[in-house]
Amino acid sequence: MTASRAAWCFISPALLVIGVFFLLPAAASLLLSLTDFDLYALADPANLRWVGFANYLELLQRPLFWQALGNTLYFVVVGVPVSMGVSLLAAVLLQDSAARCRAFFRTALFAPVVTTVVAVAVIWRYLFHTRYGWINHVLAGVGIDPVDWLGDPHWAMPTLILFAVWKNFGYNMIILLAGLQAIPADLYEAARIDGANRWQQFRHITLPSLQPMLMMVAILTTAGYFQLFAEPYVITEGGPVQSTLSVLYLMFEEGFKWWNLGMASAVAFSLFALMLFVTLILTRLFRSRHE
């Protein structure tokens, strides 16, 4: 057996799985989004019709789609910077020479990352309960009136963002921590000799050195946050008054509750296009700042 034939034997099972169960469906999704595939077509493919861009045009006219888009963007635009800020702060604290028990703190701060979203989302529902939740109880202790976190359309999304930050910051913290450890110590030594204080060292050494890593983390986190689904599904069921309905939640309802698989594919591709666009902008933004 030649090496190249062996190689194809080695890669073909994995390629087959990825090709048949991911790449092919992903491409088919684009075609599906151009049809009116619904419950009737599910029963009998003869009912399937080609509708061109009608699904996309209909989406653009649906207030609920814009609402879902707005909610998702809110989650991304606020959630990503807050997440990254918290991750960076945690990483800097862990890397500080004064920090004790580093291994313990690292594990403790990372623990929420490996937990099951659904399970910890259930915890969140009770912690943020208006009457019996600990959050309002603690706030009452400092004289703040109870907040209807999950029932008030203005507070529901911030509560979900807080949840996402709590759940995810440990992931980027580990990546940024590795980045901090790679910065040569003599850079800081030289800065200290020049009389730079901590903030100046952070501003002029830490941040520029982390630049490429921050870009990668920003892009990955943004992509992840655009895929918001389990959190609103479990914590708020998209409410109150659709204030936490995300694009993927809309896709799920269209596709697997109402069986409008054509429309659901159009929703998915709209999200994909938006994600690509935002990633492109982020890349440009970081590059231009780098030069």
């Binding site: 990825i18 991911f22 992903a26 937990t115 259930v122 600990w134 479990v234 594919s265 994909f272």
Partner: protein, 278 residues
């Protein structure tokens, strides 16, 4: 009594104080979950909200197993996670090794296009995938969750990164001795890959156990539900039973948390290895 405190001491207090704050914020919800799961029904919904159970009880767990069938959900989760881990480990390792060490026409181009496919969010493929699995008779079966997860670009990438560190001379020597490619892989390469295999297995198991959206879609028969899917249904039906739900959350989270604690080193290594693709 008062010892003069230098500026660096204050920095130490500040840094460690902040770390303690972070640790409390990270762990408090999990500790609270554990505590409430031992409370008698209704106790958590009293004022002021109690921190510890007045009379710790296992009633919630008993109820979950005897009346809610959580044991079978846990078995479904375990079975799916184990199958996905074993099968994807085999396929990803074979492919990752080939991409790293075996030369064939179009290797780099193929690998780059696989990496490029990472930008496609999984949800885009879900609607046609559902129809495909329906044709294959896999909807509403364990296979509907396992089969699409049998290989992943991330897994192939991880193994490839690690395998590149194995010296070519080792493989050449075996070839000169007349060993076949499959034997070289099985007897020489695989033992050397042990650390990355543990890493990938941990990643895959946790990911599969925690997965929610796809199992929710493809497993409509409640007898096949995984723990996260079952828990999300129970949480909708039993909104008031916080103690019961916390016990369910403990059963869902504890296995993966313990697995992570045991294999932490491997898991974090994989996280870093997987994030250097930039």
């Amino acid at each position: 009594m008062s010892v003069p405190v230098s500026r660096s001491d204050w920095a130490g207090v500040l840094v460690n104080g902040a770390l303690v704050g972070f640790a409390v914020a990270s762990l408090a919800p999990l500790v609270w979950m554990l505590s409430v799961s031992f409370m008698p029904a209704g106790e958590a919904s009293s004022l002021p909200p109690p921190l510890l159970p007045s009379a710790p009880t296992l009633d919630n767990y008993r109820l979950l197993f005897s009346r809610m069938g959580i044991g079978s959900y846990a078995l479904n989760s375990l079975l799916i996670a184990l199958l996905v881990t074993l099968l994807s480990l085999l396929f990803n390792t074979l492919a990752g090794y080939a991409f790293a060490k075996l030369t064939f026409h179009g290797r780099e181009r193929l690998f780059q296009s696989l990496l490029g496919a990472l930008v496609i969010p999984a949800q885009v493929a879900m609607m046609p995938l559902f129809l495909l699995l329906k044709e294959m008779g896999l909807v509403n079966s364990i296979g509907g969750v396992v089969v699409p997860a049998m290989a992943s670009v991330f897994g192939i990438f991880l193994v490839r990164q690690y395998t590149r560190g194995i010296p070519d001379e080792l493989l050449e020597a075996a070839r000169i001795d007349g060993a076949g490619e499959f034997r070289i892989f099985w007897q020489i390469v695989l033992p050397l890959l042990k650390p990355v295999l543990v890493t990938l297995a941990t990643f895959t198991f946790l990911g599969s156990w925690n997965d929610f959206m796809w199992p929710l879609i493809v497993l409509s028969d409640s007898g096949l539900h995984t723990l996260p899917v079952a828990l999300s249904n129970l949480a909708r039906e039993h909104v008031q039973d916080s103690e019961l739900m916390m016990a369910g959350a403990v059963l869902t989270v504890l296995p993966v948390l313990l697995l992570f604690l045991a294999l932490q080193r491997y898991y974090l290594q994989g996280l870093l290895l997987g994030s250097v693709k930039g």
